[in-house]
């Protein structure tokens, strides 16, 4: 601690250079955290997807509908614990830019399969008793300032009513997420309402969600289900929810690999910038380091002074960067609904802290060795 004033003053001998270096580290770690959040968002909750849940879709395409009658047949497969279904609605609220996912579901079955959607028993009862009722996630409600009891009109783009394309819903409840990554941007309403009121026909659903008794038998059960519907007009493709979400996310490219590539480039550049700053700083202080050694500062002590100095730059810059990114990310999804799970997982935060220390040590080690190798007599002669 008694050496701190010496380190601190050395750090700011060239204020502008040090500030720019710190600033570049700030930007690097804001980017690191922000892109981590984007990566998580694009994985669409793969990490939090249930391992005991399967998703069944039409074998041809995700957008092809399936008969509602499949539910009982799926339930009859050994190892299947529960089955529910959902259908993509794709309505517009006020403006096409106000995108959010809307699903027509079987309320009881859906809430049973998604225990991470926390809905009060009063709200659940209200919803079950109201055919045109809907429940919405907390993020979605906050986004539009919706409250329980509000009437929400949605323009159907796929589904039309027999009297037009406006569907009216009443918000019966707002669900919270049990985990940080739980999607709280969904708009859920009765499939019965869609089935009865739409002009396209009845008895069809979008996809099935299946809970299995033993997650380790998921593959065998998936195969058994698909075999059951083989050679029918509606052949199926069943996979675990994680695999399904992963496949869906990968349709827009391997976001994780792209983010990792960008971050590696950014951090490597920052490492060079920071190491260059420390190198310059040490070179400029050749005679001063020689004086310190003359006074009796040992080589390990001189090395630690240089390392602490570079660590300080990294910790100050990285700390500010992480703080700023936290502020930015805590504002929520920057796209207003396209990236529902927008947060930095704790594992990435730990990696960020590790990278800060790595940056500090790595950028200071070569200048530190340079300082250690400094010959007092030569350095004093040059000064």
């Amino acid at each position: 601690m008694k050496f701190f004033p010496l380190i601190w003053t050395s750090l700011f001998r060239r204020k502008v250079r040090t500030l720019f270096t710190i600033l570049s580290i700030v930007v690097a770690f804001v980017l690191f955290n922000y892109l981590s959040a984007v990566r998580v968002a694009f994985s669409m909750g793969v990490d939090v997807a249930g391992s005991d849940r399967l998703t069944l879709i039409h074998k041809v395409s995700f957008i092809q509908l399936l008969p509602a009658s499949y539910k009982e047949r799926i339930l009859a497969v050994e190892g299947v614990d529960a089955v529910t279904h959902a259908t993509w609605f794709g309505g517009v609220y006020q403006d096409p830019r106000n995108f959010f996912p809307q699903f027509a579901v079987d309320p009881e079955g859906y809430l049973d399969l998604y225990p991470e959607f926390l809905l009060s028993s009063e709200a659940k009862d209200r919803w079950l008793g109201n055919r045109t009722g809907a429940v919405v996630g907390r993020s979605l409600a906050d986004r539009f300032g919706w409250e329980v009891g509000d009437r929400i009109p949605l323009q159907g783009t796929i589904w039309r009513t027999r009297s037009g394309d406006t569907w009216e819903f009443t918000i019966d409840g707002i669900y919270e997420g049990a985990e940080q990554g739980t999607d709280t941007t969904q708009f859920l309403f009765h499939n019965a309402y869609l089935d009865e009121a739409n002009a396209l026909g009845r008895g069809m659903v979008g996809w099935y969600l299946i809970r299995v008794s033993h997650p380790d038998q998921a593959v065998a059960i998936s195969t058994a289900i698909d075999e059951r519907f083989a050679n029918s007009p509606f052949e199926t493709k069943t996979s675990t929810e994680q695999a399904f979400v992963q496949a869906f996310a990968s349709q827009i490219g391997d976001i994780g690999a792209m983010m990792t590539a960008i971050l590696t480039a950014v951090l490597f550049t920052i490492l060079l910038v920071s190491a260059n700053t420390m190198g310059q700083s040490v070179r400029e202080r050749t005679s001063e380091l020689a004086v310190l050694k003359t006074l009796g500062f040992t080589n390990p002590r001189v090395l630690s002074l240089v390392l602490v100095e570079s660590l300080l730059v990294a910790v100050v810059g990285g700390g500010i960067g992480l703080g700023l990114s936290w502020l930015l990310i805590s504002q929520g999804d920057p796209t207003g609904g396209l990236l529902p799970a927008f947060f930095v997982p704790p594992r990435d935060l730990v990696i960020a802290v590790g990278l800060i220390f790595f940056l500090g040590i790595a950028s200071g080690i070569l200048p530190g060795i340079q300082a250690v190798r400094l010959q007092i007599v030569d350095a004093l002669r040059r000064s």
Partner: protein
Amino acid sequence: MTENGAALVQVRNLHKVFKRGAERIDVLQGVDLDLQSGEFLSLMGPSGSGKTTLLNLLGGLDTPSDGTVTVGGDRIDKLSAARLSRWRARHIGFVFQLYNLLPVLTAERNVELPLLLTPLSRSQRKKHVATALAMVGLSGRSKHYPRQLSGGQEQRVGIARAIVTDPTLLLCDEPTGDLDRKSGDEILDLLQALNAEHGKTIIMVTHDARAAARSTRTLHLDKGTLATEGHDR
């Protein structure tokens, strides 16, 4: 003299050879020297005669090619780099021609530097720094940065830094070489007072005969050997 009666500094058959490519330069060629405690020795000689090299060897900044250097009973030519660093911190105070103060530190912080290597508490360090600055007459300049001081004042801070740990030996390399005559005289007055009133043992390298005249003994180095014994005051 040390407690057992030996000279404080004993140099025997000291050699220092530098190699520059294939060229071999014998800077010191068998120097013998005894210095008693409380002496103020001036080392004079032309440029390249080996004065500063001898001073560096006496201060443990460099290692001899051959011969022995004993200071206060310690054979410093045998010490490892780490032990030599610790030995310097305890026993040697250096005064440089160009002061070599750290520009980012105030006068008191510069003087405090050698004390950071001691187990003294912050308040004890402050006390020692205040005493050293008072001894060189700069109590009122403790918060000034080197750029805010004159050359003579900077050198006084350099001397305060050299004496703050109460070292066994004070080594001064051309301490007045970068000063005008008046400031130089003040520095010499100060060194003389440290020797006469506080019993400091001092070795000073100088080109200036007037400066050397302030010391109690002068030795002349020429081509790496001690040529003549100067005056004894």
